[in-house]
Symmetry: C2
Amino acid sequence: MEPAELAERVLARDRPAIAAALNTIEDQRPAARARAAALLDLLEGRGEDALRVGITGAPGAGKSTLIDALVRCFRERDQSVGIIAVDPSSQRSGGAILGDRVRLRANASDSQVFVRSMAARSHLGGLAEPTRAGVIVLAAAFDVVFVETVGVGQSEAEIVNLVDTLIFVAQPGAGDTIQFIKAGILEIPDIFAINKADLGPLAERTRHELFASLGLAEPGDDGWKKPAILTAARDGRGVPEVAEAIAQHRRHLESKDLLGERRRRGREAGVVAALSERYGSFGIDRLGGEEALRRRIAEGPDVRTFGDLLAELALEIETALTSSS
Amino acid sequence: MEPAELAERVLARDRPAIAAALNTIEDQRPAARARAAALLDLLEGRGEDALRVGITGAPGAGKSTLIDALVRCFRERDQSVGIIAVDPSSQRSGGAILGDRVRLRANASDSQVFVRSMAARSHLGGLAEPTRAGVIVLAAAFDVVFVETVGVGQSEAEIVNLVDTLIFVAQPGAGDTIQFIKAGILEIPDIFAINKADLGPLAERTRHELFASLGLAEPGDDGWKKPAILTAARDGRGVPEVAEAIAQHRRHLESKDLLGERRRRGREAGVVAALSERYGSFGIDRLGGEEALRRRIAEGPDVRTFGDLLAELALEIETALTSSS
């Protein structure tokens, strides 16, 4: 199918077309990459209204169950949901085998819910470029897009560049919450969900630690007061509050004119990561180093698509590489 | 201090010299990088006998407490211990602020225990190159070197290239153990410690899941039967068994002539990662792509140091880059 037709069908929420689009962006063969670039150019500006939400947290904290519950919540409001589950297995197998990771017990047969497992393929350990493209595709088709990571630590800093709102799912009593706070990891998320609230005092204590250590009683520099919500995904407690916090955070970003800025910064980080992956620090240095590159992207016109910007800078690096002898 | 003198002092376990050596390898300025390369060339072959042990596992699983307990165990046998705690904070702050992560309650004043927090600095999210260098330095000075990661998911695949033995600390009842098994992450470790054995039936059930799902009752292709040990780091239960399993795994690798092969593969992966970080996929393609590069490293003479090999291939890539127009 031609990119133009595929894009039209994705926008019409045609499920086979969405699956085909995601296959195309994951396909590394040259012909597919050209088609993927054309497709993304067509879709990039089309999902502006979608809520893009990242979910991080330690394994076992209950990310999947929380997403399940949030999906039910958004479906009750008649909003459609697309989910990308980032799959760590790729480094070994080259394929995504966690298709069932987001179990979506209640929603398996709902045509307005779409789940895709995508490989964290970069062999340098970074978040794979197709994940960014996957968000663009799903945002063009659905009202809400979730990106669920596996693991914790580096995930926060990477995923925040793909989404408007980042949720950290904390585990009551996990000894390392304090260590994550110290490490600055927990400065990144916009919303905290302390899951397994049925653990009672333990959950409340973790919430208190987050509140006190991160100064959540006061708004941050951007005026957003980060909520820390006790949830029990299994019985649904606190889940509507998290859904409401997502919507509130979006309204906050829009009211303060921060949404465009946040997406611009995410795009900038994405371009730098893609160029680093392709040309390394040696290539980035041909454009004067990472700082200069970031400045240049930030100061450039905002109308170009991600793909155009990447292609322009890539050409420049290749020219500089071959002419500097 | 000149690299030759610094190397001598590191080998003599001089603590200020070890700290200075680690500072040098973390220093990104060109002059320091040349000194670091000279230092590493001198030390690379010197820590062959040291046990190199990686520890991964979810936050809160009790990695730090287990390392504390293992350190006491090795100290009772009069073995010295160096620890690298990989610090995730670097992506934001550029610095390592988790110096206290490995708390080492009982060993704070022991001169035969050395702890260093090192940044996971790569902005592509990968394990920073200095971590590899840090292992070389500590292996030259201590009998046992631990590398403790933060986070879980990609950590296993990266850290396994730096160590001889990888321990995964599992958390009883963490729902995602099964998902990690499915993702192939748990195929990588050599030893499993199911911590918090005081949780009783929950710990036993997790151990059973690991045993059944990973087929631990039978030896793997390399003849090693991976142990899954119930531990309670707080009261020391199971800790001597883990220490013994580390020693056993080393003897296994030596008896089967696998130690050199494992280190060679780790070195190969390290060279590929370092070249990718520096020249990207575009640069790697100048040498015929990653597969060809791996083959070439594997088939080349084994006597060159990591630094020599890296320098040789880097020069070749740069030459190819500038001449291909």
